[in-house]
């Protein structure tokens, strides 16, 4: 039954390729690129100021609006700052943990740590964010009760919670990168008289850089688009995602779409910048 079919495909390599990649490529082009294109097109429409229906008057009015009102630039800069801070915090936390897991821990401990890292990913994002709300609450939260101090709801709360949420995404690629680093290289460096600092700079860092870059891409891009955590522990602050969601809420889809282009541009600049360093090739 299957044999003639296999023979048929064997004689037509192109058909085989289409059969293999057709469905995922169609999904990528139609659903993924299609929705992106729809987003970009609708960012050129405008909104009827009374009925709040989207009007198909094509123009750059939404981008002009974003340019002219300083509030949007301020929100974008704040978001950028939060994403950078989250990335920094995650790197500082992830590097030693990943190093310990890859180079120091016994296989048993390593497995336990791996499970401990993956486990929180099974819990709902919302449940974790709301749990942090009870920690951070400035009036009767757990931090206030135990430490007598809490950062409260606001930007610092957002950075803490986002750094917590994305930590596994930072540790896992760095751990994978460190595992690829043979212990013999560290020993060779030591044999040749390299102290810890030199070994780190000349041996570990160049090999680890692509993994670190991968980790920052995750933490940075995930933070850039987040708005739910901001809504839960952000107090009165807003980030790009909140402004987009608020505009979507008043049916101002065109302005929301135009503002959604901003994080896309930021990510493109980020990726192009990384490409320049050559990290993408070594990954």
């Amino acid at each position: 039954m299957l044999k003639p079919l296999a023979r048929w495909f064997h004689r037509r390599p192109l058909a085989g390729l289409v059969g293999l990649l057709g469905a995922p490529m169609a999904w990528l082009v139609v659903v993924y690129l299609g929705s992106l294109a729809a987003l970009l097109v609708s960012s050129l429409y405008s909104l009827d100021s009374f009925t709040f229906n989207v009007v198909k008057h094509v123009g750059l009015q939404n981008y002009r609006e974003l340019w002219q009102r300083p509030v949007y630039a301020r929100v974008a800069m704040r978001t950028l700052g939060v994403a950078a801070a989250v990335t920094l915090v995650d790197l500082v936390l992830a590097l030693p943990i990943a190093f310990y897991m890859a180079k120091v821990a016994t296989p048993r401990v390593r497995r336990a740590l791996g499970v401990a890292l993956i486990l929180p990913l099974w819990a709902s994002y919302l449940a974790k964010a709301y749990a942090w709300r009870t920690f951070l609450d400035p009036a009767g939260g757990l931090l206030r009760k135990t430490l007598g101090w809490s950062p409260g709801f606001g930007l610092s709360g957002v950075v803490i919670v986002l750094a917590y949420l994305w930590l596994p995404y930072a540790i896992l690629p760095i751990y994978a990168g460190l595992e690829r680093l043979p212990d013999s290289l560290l020993e060779a460096s030591a044999d040749l008289g390299g102290r810890a600092g030199v070994t780190l700079r000349a041996v570990v860092f160049p090999i680890l850089l692509p993994a670190v870059v991968a980790a920052t891409i995750f933490t940075f891009s995930l933070s850039l688009g987040d708005y739910i955590t901001v809504g839960i522990v952000g107090g009165k602050t807003q980030m790009i995602g909140n402004v987009i969601s608020a505009n979507f809420g008043v049916n101002n889809v065109p302005l929301a779409a135009a503002f959604a282009v901003v994080p896309m541009i930021i990510m493109v600049i980020y990726l192009v910048g990384i490409r320049r360093t050559g990290a993408l090739e070594n990954l």
Partner: protein
């Protein structure tokens, strides 16, 4: 894994870059459509005529011609509603389902804007719209006129609620009134002493509750600032908080920007506000009576009052979606929700004045209708029902007023 990752990243870059390329193609190919779209838009008919001078309020809204139902048949078995919190509880929904066979699914809307956005999806049969949503829905053709002759209980509704600008356009009724009330000032009775009687506790720069003040996260909250300014800064000559010229609007927005430094959190999800009062991170701010009721039932020490400056408020109307898939069930629902028993149960649960005077004898608390001033038009003249601000000043002045799209942009700026 690292190889996969490289692929993923290259793919991501590829997708983003080609998306930009696509944009370039699509924006040029899109322009021929413009004229067609413009024509279609005029046909939808949403012109707002300017005030013609004098003190006559003209907000000539051209509603698309949609026919009202002429008969109500058997229920279709299902009904999808957009409703304010507390409007569709089991106690009065279950009897409806039992009597009509219409299974009720509810999506709670947190703000009027959300409701307007939701109904545009076309997935819903009806909505409990406040005045700041209803006109937008009518003008956009999202809701259909209602044949009130098909709704027996409509005859009993207070005359003061019928034929109002927010539920009637061009002498066509667009729904049945549900109830009305004021946005109240809620405070924690332990932490806020002496008990406040003015909105100054939330607007005063030197408020002692800095950091624990909450405000409603919606552009319509600008009207709350305007109500406060109306009482405290007569020089601005605000006569209607929804009719603000550039100067008055600027003053209201400035007040809100100043207020922001004292705000702990904005709220739009009422359950989150209830939780914030319970935890104590919010101690004073604008709220709804139902939040106060629920918080009290939970043991949180709160009280809700109507401050001396007056307040914004709402007068809600059940409207039927123009594209309702279950119109019979919606008609049956509109009749049910203003029937004495259901109207009493729903408005008493929420804490607002019912629309049907016969509901007053069905409430659990017999003084309920007096407490909430049902039918007391004198009292309600002090409440500024949510209304959509439009360019033609609602108070009849001939200057330009700020419209709601300005309000939404200003709200983004207030939040910074």
């Amino acid at each position: 894994m690292p190889v996969n990752k490289q692929r993923t990243i290259q793919l991501m870059a590829c997708v983003v870059v080609s998306a930009f390329a696509l944009n370039a193609c699509s924006s040029s190919s899109k322009s021929p459509d413009t004229t067609v779209a413009a024509v279609a838009d005029t046909a939808a008919g949403t012109t707002v005529a300017a005030a013609t001078g004098g003190n006559e309020v003209v907000a000539g809204i051209k509603a698309p011609d949609i026919a009202a139902a002429t008969a109500v048949g058997k229920g279709e078995g299902e009904l999808n509603l957009i409703a304010w919190a507390g409007y569709t509880e089991k106690a009065w929904v279950d009897p409806f389902t039992a009597a009509t066979g219409c299974k009720v699914n509810v999506k709670v809307g947190n703000t009027s804007d959300e409701m307007v956005q939701l109904i545009k999806t076309g997935d819903y049969d009806g909505v409990s719209a406040s005045g700041d949503a209803s006109l937008r829905l009518i003008a956009a053709g999202d809701v259909a006129p209602v044949n009130t002759a098909l709704i027996p209980n409509y005859a009993d509704v207070y005359p003061g609620l019928k034929g109002k600008p927010w539920n009637t356009v061009n002498a066509k009724s667009y729904g049945v009134p549900h109830g009305r009330g004021a946005n109240v000032l809620m405070y924690n009775t332990d932490k806020v002493t002496p008990a406040p009687d003015s909105w100054s506790v939330v607007f005063d720069k030197a408020s002692p509750y800095k950091g624990a003040i909450t405000a409603y996260d919606s552009p319509i909250y600008i009207a709350d600032a305007a109500v406060y300014l109306m009482a405290t800064q007569p020089k601005l000559k605000i006569t209607n908080p929804y009719a603000l010229d550039a100067t008055q609007f600027g003053a209201a927005v400035d007040l809100l920007k100043q207020q922001k430094s004292n705000i702990g959190e904005y709220w739009s999800d009422f359950t989150k506000q209830q939780a914030a009062f319970k935890a104590g991170s919010s101690v004073v701010g604008t709220s709804w009576q139902i939040v106060a009721n629920l918080a009290k039932a939970e043991g949180t020490k709160v009280e809700a009052i109507l401050p001396k400056e007056g307040a914004t408020g709402w007068s809600d109307t059940w409207m039927i979606a123009a594209k309702a898939k279950h119109p019979n069930c919606m008609y049956l629902w509109m009749d049910h929700i203003i029937s004495p028993a259901a109207n009493a149960a729903a408005t008493e649960y929420f804490g607002e004045a019912p629309s049907n005077p016969k509901a007053c004898s069905k409430t659990a608390d017999k003084t309920f209708c007096d407490t909430f001033h049902a039918g007391d038009e004198e009292y309600f003249s002090k409440i500024w029902y949510w209304t959509t601000p439009i360019a033609a000043c609602l108070d009849g002045r001939t200057v330009a007023c700020t419209d709601y799209s300005e309000w939404t942009k200003a709200w983004t700026e207030v939040k910074g």
